[in-house]
């Protein structure tokens, strides 16, 4: 979130009901007069109470009306602060599916209270630790018997289509959400999905036939509008539609054994003793550094991230491997962890700023405000497998946080030897001395310790004051 003096948040402009803005680092949501009736209904119908009680909606308090921006304001809300805003293209399979199921659950609760979701954007869902919750208080409108679910198309594009592609084609296709800001177009999903998905009723209906109907009625000459006019979707049909979407989602399975890293700890050359010694040393550094917000890069399934989150620091556990992140999320979900957020992030190409004027979705670094970067068993992948000069690695870490705990893995280590096995060694500066030289341009080394029973070195660094 930007911390300017009173600025509208870039992604909050489509819905005329209101918008999000920031004043002196505090996030507010303005409700416009046009949304007055629906907001009052949300609050008085019991829906708000029911949703916040179950942790499905981010709670808010009503703030000083003097904060209102412009004359259209009805109320100003202060939502409970979220530690980190993440986006659907950074979520693993289970995260996106849980967000989808949450949306359906909320829509059902809304219908019970005489309301309906007027949008079903995946961007309206945020993770509080390993629990999804809806953050958009403006998503509700009065339900009128007979009306269709206006957000049905958006739900299919934001949730069902990418999840089906991830389950039936390739889990990496979640990256399509990064390209298509309003979800995966259904004609594209329909073309990419394997033939077998046409024999799965929910996918046949909600993706393949849905795409076909869109194509057929895209042209206004066909008379689709006249066909639709006046026709009603009964409540039973609507509930049936939600039920069909849910059963489709629940049948989707992520094929677990396809990714490279999820069994990393089982295949590492670390002995158990060395791994434990490394964990103990990282824990000591964390204790002394005392960060509130940690970003663990190359977190794998989050073993070391949990050293930070367990001592109370909000921790993003980022990894390039969607399988590892999925496992990290499942474990966090099982243990109801509230300050660990596993995310899929390719460090060689981190999430950029996206959307209208490149302002709707912020880049990964913009959203951070981290105190400490944890980079264990990572630098050799960046420096050797990706040819990123060590100085640039240091520069990116320094842009994310003032402190750093980093592990140097020397060339003699079998992991690095494997990376160098099939290529020419063009990295003469990749030595402990070269590493220290590159990093000490930006950082002071507070402490460095050789990991017992290994050739690796752990550093705790702090950025130089003048930078």
């Amino acid at each position: 979130m930007r911390v300017n003096k009173s600025s509208a948040v870039g992604g909050s402009f489509r819905d005329p009901s209101g918008f999000v803005f920031v004043v002196e680092g505090q996030v507010y949501r303005q409700i416009n007069q046009v949304y007055r009736e629906d907001y009052d209904r949300l609050m008085t119908s019991g829906l708000y109470a029911a949703l916040t009680r179950d942790g499905l909606l981010i709670p808010h308090t009503e703030a000083d009306p003097a904060l209102a921006q412009g004359e259209r304001a009805y109320k100003v809300l202060q939502p409970e602060r979220l530690p980190f805003i993440s986006y659907p293209y950074e979520w693993a399979f289970d995260q996106l599916r849980d967000a989808a199921l949450l949306t359906l659950r909320i829509q059902r609760a809304a219908l019970e209270h005489g309301m309906s979701l007027k949008d079903a954007s995946a961007y309206n869902v945020q993770f509080v630790g390993c629990r999804p919750a809806l953050m958009d208080t403006l998503s509700f409108e009065a339900y009128r018997e007979g009306e269709p679910w206006v957000a049905y198309r958006q739900f299919c594009q934001h949730f069902l289509a990418p999840l089906a592609l991830m389950a039936y084609r390739d889990v990496r296709l979640s990256s399509l959400l990064r390209v298509h800001i309003d979800g995966v177009p259904l004609d594209l999903a329909s073309r990419l999905l394997p033939l077998s998905t046409r024999f799965r009723t929910p996918l046949l209906l909600h993706i393949h036939l849905h795409a076909k109907a869109q194509r057929r009625y895209a042209d206004s000459d066909v008379g689709g509008a006249a066909l639709a006019r006046g026709r009603q979707v009964s409540r039973i049909s609507l509930l049936g539609l939600l039920d069909s979407l849910e059963s489709g989602l629940r049948k989707l399975r992520w094929r677990e054994n396809e990714t490279a890293w999820a069994d990393y700890y089982a295949h590492t050359n670390y002995s158990t003793a060395a791994l434990d010694a490394k964990a103990a040393q990282v824990a000591r550094f964390l204790e002394e550094a005392g960060p509130q917000r940690v970003c663990d890069l190359g977190a794998n399934t989050g073993r070391f991230s949990r050293l930070a989150s367990a001592r109370g620091a909000f921790t993003v556990a980022a990894d390039v491997d969607p399988g590892a992140v999925n496992l990290a999320y499942r474990e966090g979900k099982d243990k109801a962890e509230t300050n660990l957020l596993p995310l899929v992030l390719d460090l060689t190409n981190p999430s950029p700023a996206l959307g209208w004027a490149n302002e709707e979705r912020e880049s990964f670094a913009e959203r951070g405000a981290f105190d400490l970067v944890l980079a264990l068993a990572l630098v050799h992948h960046l420096a050797i497998a990706n040819n990123v000069p060590l100085e640039r690695v240091a520069a990116y870490f320094a842009a994310l946080a003032p402190q750093l705990i980093v592990e140097f893995v020397p060339k003699s280590d079998s992991q690095v030897r494997r990376l160098l096995a099939s290529r020419e060694d063009i990295f003469p500066e990749y030595t402990p001395a070269g590493f220290e030289q590159a990093f000490t341009r930006r950082y002071d080394i507070v402490q460095c310790v050789q990991v017992p029973d290994s050739e690796r070195i752990l550093y705790w660094m702090r950025q130089k004051a003048e930078r």
């Binding site: 489509r14 819905d15 005329p16 009901s17 007027k118 949008d119 409108e141 009128r144 018997e145 007979g146 009306e147 269709p148 679910w149 206006v150 957000a151 049905y152 198309r153 958006q154 299919c156 209906l205 909600h206 036939l209 849905h210 109907a213 869109q214 194509r215 057929r216 009625y217 895209a218 206004s220 689709g224 509008a225 066909l227 639709a228 006019r229 006046g230 026709r231 009603q232 979707v233 009964s234 409540r235 039973i236 049909s237 609507l238 509930l239 049936g240 539609l241 039920d243 069909s244």
Partner: protein, 75 residues
């Protein structure tokens, strides 16, 4: 019995309302003509299935009562 009545009541209200309230949709999202039409069709198709599904226990109970009655007669 009461839930059956409620069901008929709901259906009656739905039919009645569908005759009474032809209203424009005031949403900020475009539902999309094709998406609207497919929703009408899917809704009609899955609505009945959903009714059967949520009332499945009652339907099963209705038939199993009959079955157990038959069985005891045969014994």
């Amino acid at each position: 019995m009461t839930s059956k009545n409620r069901l008929w009541q709901t259906l009656g209200v739905v039919v009645l309302l569908s005759l009474l309230v032809p209203r424009p949709v005031l949403a900020y999202l475009d539902p999309g003509t094709g998406s609207y039409i497919i929703q009408l069709l899917i809704g009609a198709a899955v609505g009945l299935g959903f009714l059967i599904k949520v009332n499945w226990n009652r339907i099963k109970a209705f038939f199993s009562k009959k079955d157990s009655g038959d069985a005891s007669e045969q014994e």
